[in-house]
């Protein structure tokens, strides 16, 4: 950690946890080169980038997972909580250590492509590993949201996780018995779902996630829905029908979704709801 005082990474992680993160790790900026496409690597966003600091947390609460209505999870966004921590860390790095720091914007740079893959960042920072269902799961805390900061500060990088959270022991047992796991069973790609995969010797050797199909299910009330209704309305010659389209339940709900929630641009959560590695580690009354 040339040029940084001893204990800088530990101090940074301590500030991250105090600010609301559940976990914090550091990845070497050059580690992305092997996986991330051109224009989506740390050095493309911040010239001279040396490290990527990743924070995870703001996961849904046990009560959210237990809610019987699927709309609870699909409309109650919690990602902003961890994004606030990311922003704060970027400011902290600049003011405390004097190195440039860039908070990686959430959302996409174009199409479905993020500026920098936060899931890849979490993996490279040793905070989790990919699951059969797609999301990166932390061994201790399961499913969580991620935020990242690219910096020119040479923080000491953490190693990647060697023992994945997925598949959980219960899932391995289920695979041995039924050749499926809870997530694969809840949304099987072979039967109109989004997921498929294969385990061998307790490890995932093949995974498949149909992002396009998943999107059509969860983006129903998001930007795509808005655009679709707008197009229909513009093409509708009947005045009363136009009014129904614009003031009806679907369009109204789309507007609420766009303006007040964020997680329904993510997954429908049903694969994570049944995942023993994603949550449920704490017994609740």
């Amino acid at each position: 950690m040339a040029d940084l005082p001893p204990g800088s990474a530990a101090k940074l992680k301590s500030v991250a946890l105090e600010s609301g993160a559940t976990v914090c790790g550091v990845a070497d900026a050059t580690a992305f080169d092997a996986y991330a496409p051109e224009k989506h690597r740390p050095g493309d966003l911040l010239p001279g980038a040396r490290s990527v600091v990743v924070v995870g947390g703001a996961q849904p609460r046990e009560g959210d997972w237990a809610a019987t209505s699927p709309w609870v999870m699909q409309t109650m966004g919690t990602t902003e909580r961890i994004q606030g921590v990311g922003r704060r860390l970027a400011q902290y790095i600049e003011s405390e250590f004097g190195y440039y720091a860039l908070y990686v914007p959430p959302g996409t740079a174009s199409g479905d492509t993020p500026f920098l893959s936060l899931m890849l960042a979490a993996e490279l920072a040793g905070l989790g590993s990919r699951s059969l269902a797609g999301p990166v799961l932390n061994r201790e805390h399961g499913f969580m949201y991620w935020s990242a900061v690219i910096t020119t500060a040479p923080f000491e990088a953490d190693g990647v996780e060697t023992s994945p959270a997925c598949p959980a022991p219960a899932c391995r047992e289920m695979w041995d018995r039924e050749r499926t796991t809870p997530c694969l069973a809840t949304c099987p790609g072979s039967n109109g779902g989004c997921l498929s995969g294969k385990l061998e010797n307790g490890r995932a050797v093949r995974t498949f996630y149909d992002a396009a199909r998943c999107n059509t299910r969860v983006h129903t009330h998001w930007v795509g829905g808005f655009q679709k209704v707008l197009e229909e309305t513009l093409n509708e010659p009947d005045r009363d029908k136009r009014k129904m389209l614009l003031y009806g339940d679907f369009f109204t709900r789309s507007l609420w979704a766009i303006t007040y929630s964020s997680t329904n641009i993510a997954q429908c959560f049903e694969c994570m709801r049944v995942c023993p590695a994603a949550h449920g580690l704490r017994e609740m009354r």
Partner: protein
């Protein structure tokens, strides 16, 4: 601790970078009727303004302009204002509301946060779109509260933050500044004796450009072939100009980028060493 110090401490603890106080009477001189604090909260006595951090110095360096468009600010000023409102109502037993600042028709906000920040001594107007700049922190985002609590006000700044000495020197040499030169379509102005003499900002033109999806000069990351290090950030020339570390070969870097970065906090804070940043980048 005085009441003013108590209120400010609450705001700073909640995430504000700066907090200032303006008396409601100060708004009468320049603010039209209907947009003054007492028009919004009857019996208003004070306006407390909080400034939240703008983009990090790293964000200013990003070659992808969309990063700045998405992550320009962190909204802490709003959190700070709500924390101070709670404190004023809960502890000091006076009414307090967040000052409405989002335009309700056209471009007119119910109350101008820029003007409030000026009156509270937190910054002064700049040549660049009249954006308020704080002398220590540069570009900040402002929110305010209106309260019936009488507070000792701060004074507007005597010395303007803009033009920066580097910009004033540039104007003296070639009759323009970095911001005026980068966007002559929207901005115009003159500097005399190191102070803004005239300043024009064509807001309508600026708005129509800021929403363009296809820029005249495309920005983005370099191709793989061009990614080979070492390379410099887009604002390196400007950094050298402003800090006068080296003779400047070119007075300006690219002309297609916003230049408020010249006021980013990092280079101006005494406690932040610059040396570790640029030598590291150049060494690679």
């Amino acid at each position: 601790m005085t009441r003013e110090e108590q209120v400010k401490a609450v705001g700073m603890k909640a995430g504000a970078r700066v907090v200032g106080i303006a008396p409601v009477e100060a708004f009468r001189a320049k603010v039209p009727e209907g947009h003054r604090p007492e028009d919004i909260l009857p019996g208003a006595r004070s306006v407390v303004v909080a400034g939240g951090d703008g983009p990090t110095a790293g964000a200013w360096r990003c070659p992808d302009h969309r990063v700045m468009e998405i992550t320009g600010y962190d909204l802490r000023e709003n959190v700070a204002v709500h924390a101070m409102c709670d404190f004023i109502e809960g502890t000091l037993s006076h009414r307090a509301i967040q000052a409405p600042s989002l335009p309700v028709h056209g471009h007119e906000p119910p109350m101008s946060m820029m003007h409030a920040a000026e009156l509270a001594g937190l910054g002064t107007r700049s040549l660049a779109a009249h954006i308020i700049l704080n002398p220590e922190y540069g570009l900040l985002y402002y929110a305010a509260l209106i309260t019936t609590l009488p507070l000792e006000p701060d004074q507007p700044l005597a010395e303007p933050a803009c033009p920066h000495p580097g910009c004033a020197a540039m104007y003296k040499r070639i009759g323009t500044t970095p911001c005026l030169r980068v966007c002559p379509a929207c901005l115009a102005g003159t500097v005399q004796d190191g102070r803004i003499q005239t300043s024009t900002y064509d807001r309508e033109k600026c708005h129509s450009r800021a929403d363009l999806r296809h820029r005249l000069v495309p920005e983005g990351a370099s191709s793989d072939r061009e990614r080979g290090r070492p390379r410099t950030a887009a604002d390196d020339d400007l950094q050298r100009l402003l800090h006068e570390e080296h003779p400047v070969a070119r007075l300006l870097p690219r002309l297609d980028r916003a230049m408020l970065r010249v006021h980013a906090r990092l280079p101006r804070r005494a406690q932040v060493p610059e040396a570790p940043v640029r030598p590291e980048a150049r060494a690679r």
